[in-house]
Amino acid sequence: MKLLTTAAGMFSTLLIVISSGAGILAHAADLTEQARLEMIRNIEQDVRETSLELNKSELDPRVMKALSRVPRHEFVPADEKQNAYENRPLPIGHGQTISQPYIVAVMTDMLNLEPDSRVLELGTGSGYQAAILGELASKVYTIEIVEPLGLQAKERLQRLGYDNVTTKVGDGYYGWEEHAPFDAIIVTAAASHIPPPLIKQLKPGGRMVIPVGSRFMMQQLLVVDKREDNKIVSKQVLPVVFVPVTGKH
């Protein structure tokens, strides 16, 4: 089954390449749409089969809808376009990657965004995650430390009409004071520890999500909650259902 869906995914992306090469743009847009929906179906199926440590058998439908609206192929370099809707991380140059869609879905879901949420993102990268956030929240502020990446993402997000996403190039350690506090913060840039200013800029009741691992392989998700009483509690979540002990006791 998995093989079939992957094959179907590959076939449809192959079609995209061929058709766009032929210049049949309208048709291509259709096929991109199809590939994207195929990707969504894959993720939904994966989530159902996993029913994560989040104790959910499906992700927030709004998150899935956001994923189906954002054109992922616009966020990857030309030579990776044919892989844009595969459920895997892709290199985007500058030693950076665009995360696996499944992981993006899981992380976004964990942020529990509302339509009026204000979100801060550290590590814009391609801008894909920011675009997804832009679909779900009212305001998204995103900071990228590598200048060429940040500028590229800014241009891309503007072109695609994400007016509620504000980008900046610079050091994210101190967050973005003028737009604080935030309902949610997502830190995709590597750091040896969680910058204390970020915790300060999180609203009580707000949540921070940090993927921990290498560029291509996330090891775990760190979820930091600031409770209403300002108490900080962290939670380590595996992005996968895996129980380390076989339950024979």
């Binding site: 998995k2 899981v106 590598v146 750091a191 204390p196 090891q219 992005p239 895996f242 002990v245």
Partner: protein, 817 residues
């Protein structure tokens, strides 16, 4: 006619030394541009170049031998050129190890890299193999020079790596190939002076051109290139040694702020820092001198600060001085407590001591010369063996990088720091009431922390502690865990302090014997794995828990020093199934790579050994050859495997004696090769007095005698003479290796000479089989050591040696003369 001439011994020794140097350099170079574990695979497989040479020469031997001089010289030349160009082409491949399960193109890149890197081995091996065939009467002597050259090559390249960057050393290896061409043309009496000079001149020019253009192309996903993309960062200094390439990085706009494990409750910001990267990864920092020690308060916000809150240690031993953060932490507390602790710190890499201790001493305020601070170069267990001192606190904190550690890249690294014997060693150097503090990264699902806990429990039990739980404390932040092992029992006062310390910093106490754990934790997990795990490891259900846990948590021991190996075969299918659902990170790469290397090597070996068989019968059927090919296969496979088993296993045994991986590697390898070379050379002389069969019996009997006595006596001998000065230890290592290696050098040339006499067409085939066997042997030895220990590897090697007596490839003995 030429067969009576003197073989080109010098050029053979030189090319063989250069090939070994090339192998050592590849490991270094690929550790810099990629990661250690894939280097392991690429280089392991590239050595199949030896197998290729045997197969190809088997098929084309007639044609090649007719043009011996040309082909021999050509091989040397091509070795020189491909050692540099092959590497340059290989590093231009856009290979990304992390994508290998997603992107099948990566497998093709890997294949191309392996083929490119195997070329020099192929040419060096071809030159030597052709010499065997051309000078059939001198097989033992040629092999002697070959091995001795390799042994010297291993020493020279390690020396070279202290003074040259590895890419420059690679050019030297290329040049050695060209020089060997010059020497060989003299040795072979080549009269075409003009052509030879022209070739030498052109290749020297090509090599210099390559030298100018050879730059290392580091994977963009390593942390150094990532850091350098940030504005205002620059490499202020680079320094290289066999321990690694060290890069010092200044980041002027965005500070490093390196403080792994910093409490979520902390508001303190780290002091300005310079980054130190080893091989482009594994960052540590040199911290700018504090104007006021209170600026160091962030070092008190780490789990590793806990032991300082239980007592004021008057003497501290820091393991891994690195950039000095742990020393600063000790100084911060000793200042706070208005005591002046004596702080000893050991650091394995002398280059790092020089950099942090003198070159950047102004920046860090003479940290290493601070009153009370003493730095020692070397390995901690060696230091403790030489030194009878006892400490109030031994601090071992985060010795490896998180990402590499989390993806299992260290699985193949022998590590004598975290074995049961090691922990006992540390505890023996702790005063009553003193503390051993071990900090590691938290991995999900839990691995290191629980394995370390199991190791500590076992160490305490073996030391006769009746109730180990009383001396153990485990605390945890979201990122790091600190395990305290006390020489004694923790008091209720201690526990109170631990609670306070942890509460203030949002850390969780996961284990404190006899005291109830907090109801709510600061760092939640789906289930309280650490509390459950520690409790199970102390209960009588320990074995059941170890069996049921999906990662390997069995403590490492000195004979099986693989602390970082967590993979269980039984869990792999589940992990692979989950790979699209975020489960990729469960797979630990080091071990998988090892198994893959072994499988690929075995499959390719079968092909390389079988293919020539299609061509061989034609050449050997009608001659005098009545030698069974099965015997040839079994014999050369067995000695190829056994030789490396012995070499690898004894190298590890001697690490525990010399207490220094680099010295041990250099001394043991060089001694094994040089003395095996001498043994091979001597076997030629001895063959005048004894039959080869008897010589074989004699050498095997000797190998068994020495092997078995070493297994039985070596450990006790090492303990008995453990406080001997290092130079004497090195000398003793050579003395111990010499007789064993001398004897081990004989079985190969004895059998190859027999083939040269009775079935010369089989000589290159046997050479190829031996080459394939060596490749299989290297990964098989590690795999066996991971599961059964190095002693088992030695026992198996001895069994193989005993077995070859029955497979000696010679024509059936005729009763009458």
């Amino acid at each position: 006619m030429r067969k009576h001439q003197r073989p080109p011994y010098l050029s053979i020794a030189l090319i063989s030394g250069a090939a070994l140097a090339y192998e050592v350099l590849l490991m270094r170079l690929f550790s810099i541009i990629q990661w250690h574990h894939f280097s392991y695979m690429i280089i392991g497989l590239a050595l199949l170049g030896y197998g290729f040479s045997g197969a190809i020469i088997s098929v084309f031997q007639g044609w090649l031998l007719q043009r011996f001089t040309l082909v021999f010289l050509g091989s040397l030349l091509l070795f020189g050129l491909t050692s540099v160009t092959g590497f340059m082409a290989a590093q231009a491949m856009p290979f990304n190890a992390e994508l290998i399960l997603w992107d099948y193109q990566q497998v093709i890149y890997l294949l191309i890299i392996f083929l490119l890197l195997s070329l020099p081995f192929f040419f060096a091996a071809s030159a030597i193999c052709l010499a065997f065939m051309q000078y059939r009467q001198q097989v033992s002597r040629i092999y002697g020079w070959d091995l001795a050259g390799a042994g010297l090559g291993s020493l020279i390249v390690i020396g070279l790596l202290f003074v040259a960057f590895p890419q420059n050393a690679l050019i030297t290896v290329g040049a050695a190939g060209i020089v060997s061409l010059l020497i060989a043309s003299v040795e072979l009496g080549v009269k075409q002076y003009r052509s030879v000079s022209l070739i030498l001149l052109v290749s020297a020019l090509v090599l210099s051109l390559l030298a100018v253009n050879l730059e290392l192309n580091m994977s963009p996903y390593k942390s150094l290139p990532q850091t350098l993309r940030v504005d205002g960062t620059e490499v202020v200094e680079q320094d290289s040694s066999p321990f690694g390439l060290i890069s010092i990085i200044d980041s002027r706009i965005v500070p490093f702020r390196h403080a792994p494990g910093l409490s979520l409750a902390s508001t303190a910001e780290p002091l300005p820092q310079l980054g130190i990267f080893t091989d482009g990864d594994n960052m540590t920092v040199i911290t700018k001198a504090a104007e006021d020690t209170s600026q160091l308060v962030y070092l008190d916000q780490l789990t590793s600060a806990l032991p300082y809150h239980l007592a004021d240690p008057a003497s501290v031993l820091i393991v891994g001085a690195g950039g000095g953060a742990d020393i600063l932490q000790a100084l911060y507390h000793s200042n706070n407590n208005k005591t002046s602790a004596a702080i000893d710190a050991v650091e394995l890499n002398p280059q790092l001591i020089e950099i942090v201790g003198s070159r950047y001493s102004e920046f860090n305020g003479d940290l290493f010369q601070h009153p009370g601070v003493q730095i020692y170069a070397g390995d901690v267990r060696g230091f403790l063996t030489q030194n009878q001192k006892k400490y109030d606190l031994i601090q071992i904190s985060l010795m490896d990088a998180f990402n590499a550690s989390a993806s299992g890249l260290y699985a193949l690294n022998e590590d004598y720091l975290y074995t049961i014997e090691a922990l006992k060693h540390y505890l023996n150097h702790i005063v009553p009431g003193g503390i051993l503090s071990l900090t590691r990264w938290i991995k999900m699902p839990p691995r290191d922390t629980l394995k370390l806990f199991a190791t500590a429990v076992e160490a305490l039990r073996q030391m006769g502690v009746e109730n180990p739980s009383e001396g153990l404390i485990l605390i945890r932040s979201w990122q790091t865990s600190t395990l305290l092992v006390k020489n004694g029992a923790f008091s209720s006062e201690n526990i109170k302090n631990i609670r306070e310390f942890s509460d203030e910093r949002s850390f969780d106490v996961d284990f404190a014997a006899g005291f109830p754990l907090a109801e709510e934790s600061y760092n939640l997990m789906a289930k309280p794995w650490f509390q459950e795990g520690t409790a199970a490891l102390l209960s009588d259900k320990q074995d059941q828990y170890l069996d049921e846990y999906k990662f390997n948590l069995r403590p490492a021991i000195d004979d099986r020093p693989y602390f970082h190996h967590f993979t269980k075969w039984s869990s792999l299918p589940e992990m692979f199934k989950l790979r699209d659902r975020g489960g990729m990170s469960l797979i630990e790469w080091g071990y998988i790579v090892l198994v893959m290397t072994l499988i690929v090597a075995a499959v390719l070996s079968v092909i390389l050994i079988a293919l020539p068989l299609l061509a061989l019968p034609r050449c050997s059927d009608k001659g005098k050859a009545a030698i069974s090919k099965t015997r040839v296969i079994l014999y050369f496979l067995a000695i190829g495997i056994a030789f490396l088993f012995m070499e690898i296993a004894f190298m590890q045994k001697f690490i525990l004696f010399l207490h220094h991986p680099l010295y041990s590697f250099a001394v043991t390898l060089a001694a094994f090769l040089v003395f095996a070379g001498i043994g091979s050379y001597l076997s030629a002389n001895m063959a005048h007095y004894y039959s080869r069969r008897n010589l074989l019996l004699g050498s095997v009997a000797g190998i068994l005698l020495f092997g078995i006595s070493y297994i039985l006596l070596l450990d006790s001998l090492f303990i008995w003479i453990s406080d001997t000065p290092i130079l004497l230890k090195i000398l003793l290592t050579v003395v111990l290796v010499a007789p064993l290696a001398l004897l081990m050098g004989m079985p190969f040339p004895l059998a190859l000479s027999s083939l040269a006499d009775h079935a010369e067409a089989l000589v290159p085939w046997a050479w190829g089989i031996n080459g394939c066997a060596s490749v299989i042997s290297a990964s098989l030895a590690t795999l066996l050591a991971i599961h059964f220990g190095f002693s088992t590897v030695i026992m198996l090697a001895l069994a193989l040696y005993a077995g070859i007596v029955f497979m000696y490839p010679a024509p059936p003995r005729v009763v009458t003369s």
